[in-house]
């Protein structure tokens, strides 16, 4: 982020970096996205002072909705501490001067790349996704004119064929990330690189969801309380990943877990991918099976040390 920091120090920029003309254009696209749930609205994506892989679509959406009284949370891989999350949080602290937080419940705007917080979101929160490839049909049909036609005709046969081939080859639907959904019984949509574990969370969510793809210049949305169904078949119903162990640190079950290597002797444990959720549980006295292990304690301690900034 040093290059970016230099850019900021060199010149003047508007609140939240984007100029007002760009914000208006993005805001109009957001309204259309909300009115047509799951439809990808084209927008004139701007160059941002960060590489495309860093979520410039999400950043532009966040910059266009953010107000000076908002409290922002940034998540990458479920954690607030990764380079990507730290950089983008710093970007908004610098350009908008907004309050930021690690706590899901404190945030009014949450921008994420991979995960949806384990804690249920509220009506007064907005969840912004950074999307690399917004078109769920792109791997099946490279031509934009054709995929646009398929969406217009609600012709999603190709997608079902692909999923069924998955079943024929693997005995189950092998797609675990960016698992396609149908929104409001109409548009097939890519829920970005979130694990399919999170798909049930975007169905009937009380919070508004906004999706931004910078390189592909698309914005789409899921309004609150909207039906979102993961594609499946009667004989092969949609299932989320199941973990046979609880979180090693806080003992949480039915959450998404990451594998963590503890030492070079092959010691490992599974911990909550949502680090804020894990910390809150531990603070409330929940202990997992590894909570007393020195290596695990070191890992947990390190994580919470970084939190205090």
């Amino acid at each position: 982020m040093n290059d970016t920091a230099q850019i900021f120090d060199q010149g003047e920029y508007n609140f939240a970096y984007l100029d007002e003309q760009t914000k208006r254009m993005i805001r109009r696209a957001i309204l259309k996205g909300i009115a047509i749930p799951g439809y990808q609205v084209p927008f004139a994506s701007r160059e941002m002072p960060m590489p495309y892989g860093w979520g410039t679509g999400g950043v532009q959406v966040t910059a266009s909705i953010l107000g000076k009284d908002d409290c922002l949370k940034m998540i990458d891989q479920g954690s607030d501490d990764t380079t990507n999350a730290v950089s983008i949080r710093g970007f908004f602290e610098k350009t908008a001067g907004v309050r930021t937080t690690y706590e899901t419940s404190e945030a009014t705007v949450i921008q994420t790349r991979h995960r949806i917080p384990e804690k249920g979101l509220r009506e007064d929160q907005v969840l912004v996704f950074q999307v690399p490839i917004p078109e769920p049909l792109r791997f099946l049909e490279p031509r934009e004119t054709e995929t646009r036609k398929m969406h217009a005709l609600e012709d999603y046969g190709l997608m079902h064929v692909k999923l069924y081939e998955d079943i024929a080859k693997n005995g189950h639907i092998a797609t675990t990330y960016a698992y396609p959904v149908k929104v409001n019984d109409r548009y097939v949509m890519d829920p970005s690189p979130t694990p399919k574990f999170d798909n049930p969370k975007i169905d009937q969510m009380p919070a508004l969801q906004l999706y931004g793809a910078g390189r592909e210049k698309r914005i789409y949305a899921i309004p609150p309380y909207t039906k979102v169904k993961s594609l499946d078949f009667d004989d092969y119903p949609f299932e989320v990943q199941k973990f046979d162990k609880p979180c090693g640190l806080c003992g949480a079950e039915n959450v998404y877990l990451d594998e963590v290597i503890l030492d070079d002797q092959g010691g490992r444990m599974y911990v909550c991918s949502d680090s804020d959720h894990c910390e809150e549980r531990r603070a409330n006295g929940h202990l997992g099976p590894m909570a007393a292990d020195p290596a695990a304690t070191h890992f947990a301690g390190g994580a919470s040390e970084e939190t205090v900034q």
Binding site: K23, R24, R27, K32, I34, A35, L66, P223
Partner: protein, 210 residues
């Protein structure tokens, strides 16, 4: 203005825009976004400081200043179209081209909704680009004093009610026809005094219970 001038063309054309363009527009946008995301709810618009030429209201002026610019052709109903002061205000603050045909408009501003042209005369977007449609802003609305309609659809937990008017008698039938066009169709913003409500095309109007 240091010399006393009558309320002439000149002074009304220079009616001020937002006092704090960046933050006022952001706050107004969030209200519009919340209204569109939660059909039937009322959202507050701060209108202090805005004194647009009549019949443009401060609340509609806030919406206009927030969303319109030279990329958004705007259609005006007769009371607005016949006011040079209104057209000057719009040109000066937004640069939006004023169009004659409803179908050419990205936004339509209606201050006399009782005489609204049919919703079908606005741009419905295409099957491939349903976003290229008109957003219709209806002014002079009073909430809570007219027969409510029941709403269902995205953004609504179970059901919601909306009571607003004045509107032409055929209006709700037109809204139903509009939602049957989904994903094509127009989106509606109802503007009262300091508050708004919205109906995206995705909202279905349930038949009123007898």
């Amino acid at each position: 203005m240091d010399t006393a001038i009558d309320a002439s063309e000149h002074t009304t054309a220079l009616a001020a825009g937002f006092q704090d363009p960046v933050h006022d527009a952001q706050e107004c946008f969030r209200a519009i976004m919340n209204a569109m995301a939660r059909p039937g709810t009322e959202q507050l618009i701060r209108e202090d400081g805005l004194v647009p030429p009549a019949p443009l209201t401060p609340t509609v002026a806030a919406i206009v200043l927030t969303l319109l610019d030279y990329d958004t052709p705007v259609w005006l109903d007769r009371p607005l179209m016949t006011s040079d002061a209104v057209k000057s205000f719009l040109r000066f603050h937004t640069g939006a081209p004023i169009v004659k045909e409803p179908v050419e408009a990205a936004f339509a501003i209606v201050t006399d909704p009782a005489h609204l042209v049919p919703l079908a005369s606005f741009n419905q977007g295409s099957a491939e680009y349903p976003d290229r449609s008109t957003t219709v802003v209806l002014s002079s609305q009073e909430f809570g004093k007219h027969a409510p309609v029941t709403l269902e659809g995205p953004g609504i937990k179970d059901r919601a009610a909306l009571s607003t008017g004045p509107l032409p008698p055929v209006f709700w039938d037109q809204v139903s026809a509009n939602s049957r066009l989904f994903p094509r169709g127009v989106d509606l913003i109802f503007s009262g005094k300091g508050r708004i409500s919205a109906l995206p095309r995705s909202t279905r109007i349930l038949p009123s219970e007898v």
